[in-house]
């Protein structure tokens, strides 16, 4: 079975609703490992070796985070900066990640309509995540279409349940 590593990044899960529902809703799945970055590295001192070993053990990587300023929360960026080392992830001899598939699972405050060329935000979420996509490709990984949960601030009850179900379905069945 394909193993999936969810690199989860939310700085204040205690205040979260959507991401908490999502992560709690999928953590029990077989073959899914959740790596809670802000919990493990509250002081931003990332254990590079540990993270790399963990990546190697999984075929599928998920980056799950709330969209902050059209980007990832800061620890996610730190994580990429230090874990994707030259000679390991890319560059000469750097092929540890090659062939893996990576998917961003993102929650946004704004609604779906705003994330279009004509909409308020003027770009799709996929476009905004271009740095993630390029980085994944640089490391020989396949960047799947992001799974976006729009209007996350308003999701509750049925909406949240549906989001969790979508997430689970994707994790179990893939694209």
């Amino acid at each position: 079975m394909e193993r999936t590593l969810i690199v989860f990044c939310h700085p204040a899960l205690e205040k979260s609703r959507t991401n908490r529902a999502l992560i709690e809703g999928v953590a029990d799945l077989d073959g899914v490992t959740v790596s809670d970055l802000y919990e493990r590295y509250p002081d931003f001192l990332i254990d590079v070796k540990r993270e790399q070993d963990q990546l190697v053990e999984h075929e599928r990587i998920v980056w799950q985070f709330p969209l902050f300023w059209y980007s990832t929360p800061s620890l996610m960026k730190e994580w990429m900066d230090v874990v994707f080392q030259y000679g390991w992830a890319y560059g000469r001899g750097g092929n540890a990640l090659a062939g893996k598939r990576v998917k961003a699972v993102v929650t946004t405050g704004a609604d779906a309509g705003s994330y279009t060329a004509e909409g308020f935000n003027g770009h799709t979420v996929r476009d905004l995540l271009l740095p993630l996509e390029r980085s994944a490709r640089m490391c020989g990984m396949e960047f799947a279409e992001p799974l976006v949960f729009y209007d996350a601030l308003k999701l509750d009850g049925g909406g949240l349940a549906r989001a969790v179900a979508d997430y689970r379905k994707w994790l179990k069945e893939g694209d």
């Binding site: 899960l13 509250p42 704004a110 601030l153």
Partner: protein
């Protein structure tokens, strides 16, 4: 009353020292010169404050030389001594042989018999360890090439005294005069020895040397540790004196130079953690004794004799200087010294020495030299010693500027200097962490602590650690404070901390001073001092403990971590803000009351801050509310707004 006269002369000598040294220093002269001149002034030919006992005082204070050699030994690790064996034997050996030949030649030329001439040659070949080492140190020349060569030569001479002492009686041509010998006689051991064949004597000497080395390792070190462990300072000082005096006595009774014995003991202890403590305990005694010694040399110059034979004495002194300096100059060029170094080397060592007095006394009593010759020579040697500081001064002011001498040559970096960038004063539980952390980053730390067990332990881990009170200037100096960049103080008592700070600021202004405070009040005081860094001893660990507790309560790690850091930062700022107000209060009661109310204030501030902070980062809760209410900017805008 005998005691009283002893006190009177002690008083006179010490007053002379107290007056002469500052005056000499004020005039830019060396302290040695000050002592010598003071001696001449209080001596029988000027103020007549001291008289016959001058000789006795001289013999007594010769012990300063013994102590000095002990201290020199402490500076020299065995490995270093071994590395110096070539210059010691090469330079020192040739100096003694060549100078003896030159002086003997001169003496023959003025009509002395060969035995007398040879005796004079041997006696005058020796230079003054006391004057030269003291001056080299004072002028900061100890580490230069010339300084090291001079040291090698002096060391050889000090060793050579033994065979010369043994050989002198063989040169006797006159009936023995008896008396006047300095340290011989009376002792059972030396009586017995004098009846043994020569090889027995040699064997005893070797035995003593081996004994000192052995005892140093296996008896003295543990003994020092034991006494240091009592933390009674004077017990340690007493032990240090016992050590030096004991070895001197032993060596004397074996007919070996006491200076050599203590020197060896010093070398053996150079590797021990008590090195600096011993050094600073013996140092003042040595200083005073040497000073008194120089004064007595000055006082012993028989000016009436000099006045009676001005040309003879002047000729001997000048001849001695020229002959010795020439020999040294030639040796210096063989040793590959630059011209500037060669000049220092040759001019500094050109006088007669204190061992000369000893040997002259022997020569007189043993019937080697007649009384008049002896007196003339004693006066000449004393004069040559007295003139040496002037020669040094001339070299320094007139000759050296022409050569642009590098005064401070490089030291043997690893051996002589302790140049870790960080000095850690106090290495208890707190200091331990500091040292470990810094060492883990490859930053060398020199530790000073007055707990002998800590020191032993750190030494075993390969950390440079010295035993003693960190607030002492000399110990700091020895630990390399002049070169270090940071001084970290984790001493316990507030008094001690204050003294360390003032010493460090006064003598080593370049040091960044970082201090661990033992209480809130202490922290305020230190903050007011304007130190580079002050931290409350519990600040770090207590806050970490609270952070861990928050996590145990189910807090997210990142939230707890931020809370802890914010708290620490805020607490730091609050302490600094309150430090100013803290200044006025005086009494203890007031202090306690104030610190309680401060604590209250701190708690209040914390509470207010909590309200403010809980509203801040990543607050999706407020966002959610506003978004539900249709507020346009909440969480990005809706399309079409």
């Amino acid at each position: 009353m005998a005691n009283e006269s002893m006190f009177v002369s002690a008083f006179i000598y010490l007053v002379a020292a107290v007056v002469s040294v500052p005056v000499a220093k004020r005039l830019g002269l060396s302290s040695v010169l000050g002592y010598l001149v003071a001696g001449m002034l209080i001596g029988p030919f000027a103020l007549r404050l001291v008289g016959e006992e001058g000789q006795a005082v001289m013999h007594f204070s010769e012990f300063g030389v013994v102590m000095m050699l002990f201290l020199i030994g402490l500076e020299l690790r065995p490995s270093m001594l071994w590395r110096m064996r070539l210059p010691i034997i090469g330079l020192g050996g040739s100096q003694v042989v060549l100078t003896t030949l030159a002086v003997t030649g001169g003496a023959l030329a003025i009509g002395l018999g060969w035995q007398m001439a040879l005796a004079v040659g041997l006696i005058l070949a020796l230079s003054s360890t006391a004057i030269v080492m003291q001056s080299l140190q004072e002028k900061g020349l100890g580490g230069t090439e010339a300084g090291r060569s001079a040291f090698s030569v002096l060391l050889f001479q000090d060793i050579a005294v033994i065979p010369i002492l043994a050989a002198l009686p063989l040169l006797a041509t006159l009936p023995a005069a008896g008396g006047g010998g300095h340290d011989g006689g009376g002792n059972v051991l030396s009586d017995w020895l004098s009846h043994q064949p020569g090889w027995m004597n040699t064997l005893m000497v070797l035995g003593a040397v081996v004994g000192i080395i052995f005892a140093g390792r296996f008896v003295l070190q543990p003994l020092l540790a034991l006494v240091a462990g009592t933390r009674v300072r004077e017990a340690f000082v007493a032990l240090a004196l016992v050590l030096v005096i004991g070895i001197a006595l032993l060596m004397n009774s074996l007919g070996v130079s006491a200076a050599l014995g203590t020197f060896l003991a010093g070398v053996v202890l150079a590797d021990s953690p008590y090195r600096h403590e011993l050094e600073s305990d013996i140092e003042p005694f040595k200083g005073i004794l040497l000073g008194v010694f120089f004064i007595s040399v000055g006082a012993s110059i028989d000016f009436s004799l000099v006045a009676g034979n001005p040309w003879l004495v002047a000729g001997i002194v000048a001849g001695l200087f020229v002959a010795k300096a020439l020999v040294l100059f030639v040796l210096g060029s063989f040793a590959g010294q630059g011209l500037d170094q060669r000049l220092i080397f040759s001019l500094y060592l050109a006088q007669g020495g204190e061992f000369g007095f000893v040997l002259l006394g022997m020569a007189l009593s043993g019937g080697v030299l007649d009384e008049r010759t002896c007196q003339v020579l004693v006066a000449s040697v004393a004069l040559s010693m007295a003139l040496t500081p002037l020669v040094m001064l001339a070299e320094e002011k007139l000759v050296r500027p022409r050569f642009g001498t590098r005064v401070a040559g490089e030291r043997e970096a690893d051996e002589m200097a302790e140049d870790a960038p960080v000095i850690l004063a106090g290495v208890g539980r707190f200091g331990n962490f500091v040292a470990r952390m810094l060492r883990s980053q490859g930053v060398e730390v020199t530790v000073i602590d007055n707990d002998s067990e800590h020191i032993e332990f750190l030494r075993r881990l390969g950390i440079k650690a010295f035993y003693g009170d960190a607030n002492r200037h000399d110990l700091l100096e020895a630990a390399g404070a002049a070169k270090a960049s940071v001084l970290i103080c984790t001493l316990g008592g507030e008094e001690q901390v204050a003294r360390l700070i003032s010493t460090a600021r006064k003598h080593f202004p370049q040091l960044k001073i970082m201090v661990r405070a033992v209480s809130r009040n202490h922290e305020y005081e230190l903050v007011e001092e304007g130190l580079d860094f002050v931290i409350h001893q519990n600040a770090g660990s207590a806050i970490q403990m609270a952070e861990a507790a928050l996590r145990e309560l189910g807090w997210r790690a990142h939230r707890a971590s931020r809370a802890a850091k914010t708290f620490a930062r805020h607490d730091h700022a609050a302490t600094r803000a309150l430090a100013g107000d803290h200044r006025d209060e005086t009494t203890y009661i007031k202090r306690v009351r104030q610190s309680l109310s401060e604590l209250e204030e701190l708690f209040e501030q914390d509470a207010k801050r909590r309200e403010r902070e809980s509203a801040t980062p990543w607050d999706a809760i407020q966002l959610r509310k506003d978004s539900a209410a249709g507020y346009p900017d909440a969480g990005g805008a809706k399309d079409g707004d």
